[in-house]
């Protein structure tokens, strides 16, 4: 073949490939993501969402673009990020925790799927669970109910506990409700609580120091991102100071803390992916009911219990979904 012919053939092939590539370009879905914490803290959760979306046929390199914003524990930053994200006009925004409120302020038309720890009705995100009625829907992690249960389980595991430290996020908008819920639950069990706020990792250290100094026997931590991502550090602190720690994500107990009671994270974010999928396919958030996590798991770390010098009663172990030896 002459050079000229080869050149022509290559050009033709290239043109064809270009054409086919252009034709084969699948529709691009754009999903926005906004989290209150840092990327480091939030990536595992984002990954869980990615997995869920991949399972439903959305692959990032092919037909999915995730526009992720990280709040870095800054309220104002979250607000501006929310506005930016809305301006970027993705097809749906996934908003973690307190960012949902910011996003709600930023848009009333863009569909938003929240992963909210508290009561979205009380937070004003939705009208009611059955028919949200706005542009927001998602999963509620029952933080208010679960905090009482966590205290109960802690009490069962540590019968001698008298004073419980509660760690929550200062920026958490529903924090007043959480505080009240914690106090009510503790009171019902005849316990006292002391409230500590920790948003980012730095604040967390200060909170831990403060708890050390306090007369608290154990600590119940709200399952916020910074807590979960610092699970290992907290576990070390917990064992060092012989202060059992209970939170809401299974990871918390797996990384060395005594116990966790809460929703299964991966399962929950797969459910979030289902929400995203339905919205991308045209469903309206107003018609998708807010859901609760399907499974609430109890994970007990007996090793940690031993190190903490606790003998976990049989009744507690019995109801554990996962026991770490």
């Amino acid at each position: 073949m002459t050079h000229r012919r080869m050149f022509l053939a290559a050009a033709a092939a290239g043109a064809i490939l270009d054409g086919t590539a252009a034709i084969a370009q699948p529709p691009q879905y754009r999903v926005g993501w906004i989290a209150p914490g840092t990327m480091a803290e939030g990536l595992p959760i984002l990954d869980a969402l990615r997995d869920g979306l991949r399972g439903l046929g959305y692959v990032e390199s092919r037909n999915l673009i995730i526009d992720a914003r990280w709040g870095d524990h800054s309220g104002p930053r979250v607000e501006s990020l929310a506005a930016d994200l809305v301006a970027a006009a993705p097809q749906v925004i996934v908003a973690l925790g307190p960012t949902a409120m910011a996003v709600r302020r930023a848009t009333t038309t863009l569909p938003v799927v929240f992963a909210f720890s508290g009561d979205p009705v009380q937070a004003g995100l939705v009208a009611n669970f059955a028919q949200p009625g706005g542009n927001l829907t998602g999963i509620s992690f029952l933080a208010l109910e679960l905090v009482g249960k966590r205290i109960e389980l802690l009490k069962a595991a540590m019968p001698g506990a008298r004073r419980i430290a509660i760690v929550a996020s200062a920026q958490h908008p529903g924090d007043q409700a959480e505080r009240h819920a914690s106090e009510a639950a503790a009171k019902a069990m005849g316990l006292e609580i002391e409230y500590f706020e920790a948003a980012g990792s730095a604040q967390l250290d200060r909170a831990l120091e403060a708890i050390q100094k306090s007369r608290c026997d154990a600590v119940v931590m709200f399952p916020i991102q910074s807590i979960i991502s610092n699970s290992a550090r907290i576990a070390a602190w917990s064992i060092r100071n012989r202060i059992p720690a209970v939170s809401g994500w299974g990871q918390f107990a797996e990384e060395g803390n005594l116990m966790s009671y809460g929703a299964a994270m991966r399962e929950s974010f797969q459910r979030i992916a289902t929400f995203v999928d339905r919205i991308l396919k045209g469903a309206k958030p107003a018609e998708l009911p807010v859901e609760l996590p399907l499974h609430i798991e109890l994970v007990i770390n007996l090793e940690a219990a031993r190190r903490l010098g606790l003998a976990v009663p049989r009744s507690v172990i019995l109801r554990a979904d996962k026991v770490i030896e």
Binding site: N128, F129, A130, Q131, L142, E145, L146, G148, K149, E152, A185, A188, M189, E287, L288, P289, V290, E291, L292, L294, H295, I296, R314, S315, L318, R319, A320, D321
Partner: protein, 746 residues
Amino acid sequence: MTTSTDPGRPRGSLFRRYTLYLALLLSLALLVSGSIGAYFAYQDARALVDELQREKARAAAARIGQFIQSVELQLKGALVSGSAGGPLDLEARHIELLRLLRIAPAISDAASLDATGHERVRVSRLARDAVDSGVDHSSDPAVIAARDGRTGYGGISFRRQSEPHVAIAVSGTRPDDGAVIADINLKFASDVVAGIRIGDSGSAYVVDARGDLIVHPDSGRALRMVNLADLPQVRAALSQAKGSATTQPTVVGSVGSGPTTIAAHATIEPLGWHVIVEQPLSEAFAPMFASVARTAVLLVAGIVLAVAASLALARRMTAPIRMLENGAQRIGDGHLEERVEIRSGDELEALADQFNRMARKLRDSHAELEQKVEDRTHQLEEANRAKVRFLAAASHDLRQPVHALGLFVAQLEDAHDDSARRHLIAQVAASSAAVSDLIEALLDISRLDAGAVAAQPAEFALQPLFDRIEHALSAAARERGLRLRIRPTSLKARTDPMLLERILLNLCANAVRYTVHGGVILAARVRGSLVRIEVWDTGIGISAEQQCHVFEEFYQIGGAPDERGKGLGLGLAIVDRLARLLDLPVSIRSVPGRGSVFAVGVARAHAAQQGEPAVPQLLAPARFEGLSVLLIDDDPIAREAIGGLLTQWGCEVRSSACAAGALRQVADGSRPRLIICDYHLGDHERGTSVVRQVRELAREDIPSVILSADTSKALREATATAGLHLLHKPLNAARLRALLLHVARS
């Protein structure tokens, strides 16, 4: 068999019609049966589809029921018997309930009740546990229902106005046994429902007794707290009476952008829930539509086959008919040999046979006709030949005396003395008489043949006839030296007297002519009711062979010695004709050399009519004293001849050559007593009209005679109608005389 139809001509409307009718009939039958079959098949298929849907619904109900039952079993496993109430009892209950929580994720809360229905231990996933709270559940409907080992179900409650939960209570069979009551989160049932396969795109969901959606494959849907009681399929499910057979599945019109679906339902007893199974109609009916499509294709194929079959059948049916048609055409064209071959063993074959028979008859009659024509032609040729012979003979016989006449007249011119002249005149008279006789005889025969002679039967005495015959022939007999004896008779006969006289005259004349010596006897005898008139002679006789021919024209037996007196050979021919006309039998007996007897039979009469018939006096001499006669003839010779004769008889004759002359004479005042007028006058004048004119001018019906050689019946009738006499040429003097006499007398 080759047909005579040209290829361009269509097969014929019979074929088309047969094809059309057969095709229509078959197609109609197919359509009707196909449609009826399809209708019933559709009904059956639909019933099957409905039943299938109902089955699916029942299966779904069973699976959901199983789910609930499995939870029940788990609850039952958590029963603790005994009402000790101590810490051990409590712990035991607690342990059981915790175990329950772990093995049954659907359970949100569970409580262990004692035999009185008070709560001993309570565990919850979200809410606080309670030990020995003593809460009274005995009025809980589920607890009430769960007595004596039965399972009780509470109603549906929607936690957070979203999540449907159902309360289930189980109790032990023993009286000590308490109960376990649990709240079941129905979100966990959505997997069960999602796992129910309804075709490719069907689904099942559950509503409670009120129509609230409680379980859906998409778990989120069941959280919406929707009431579906308005949906027709749900309405059908709710309205079904307990325990009755499930109703027909409902066809639901398309909702939004969804397809039309068919929905069946089943009841999940004893919960009172209803599972609704929906499937897109197209999917559910797919096999049915496929079968209908199959039927339609078969129907179309069947109709095509039917049309083809009817074409073939029609061709078969019309083939014999076409054969008949072609055969008929060929026979009609003249091919009478054509035969139609049909071997179908039915009416068409019979028809073809009849056809062939008809053709055969046609051919036979054709042949017959041809034969007849041939015979007739032959006859006519024969008759023609006979006529030719007759004419030849007549003209031959005529030539002789005419020739002689010419010779005599020529001689007469040269004759000087009286005696020679007288002798010649006698010869001329004789020849003229011979010619006249011949022509007379010819005319007679002609008249008889033409049917111009009418017989006028009468009853009369025979004797006067005999007398006249004797008178006529006695001289001739004496001359030849024969004895002529007439036996007197008093017998009377009934027939035409004139014609009979003629017959007898001819017979006697013949007898005289052919007898050399001896005599002739004429006698009449009675033979029963007949009178047999016989003419005996002792003449030369007629042999048997000749007897067949004697009555033919111009037939003369040879061997007569006297040539002169031979005659013309017409006498017997005239007798034969006359006898036939009068229907009289004539017989011959003869011995050659000895003699012959001719006999005529006539009917006998007993009384003669009064008076003699007016027989014209043949030979009575008379003179007509100045009878004025008007003669009209364009032929001067005829005028001369007839005029001369009349003058000789004493008439006063005025003649004219044409009508104009005659009319002038009448106008001048002459009044003739008789008009004699030739029929064919010059200038295309007809004698009849001339006479009419003269009569008119004279204002008198003068007796008139038309002269003509025409012996036709038409002329006779015309003259008779006009009241005229008719005399044929050549004129018979005697007849003319008779007529004159008649006129003179009147």
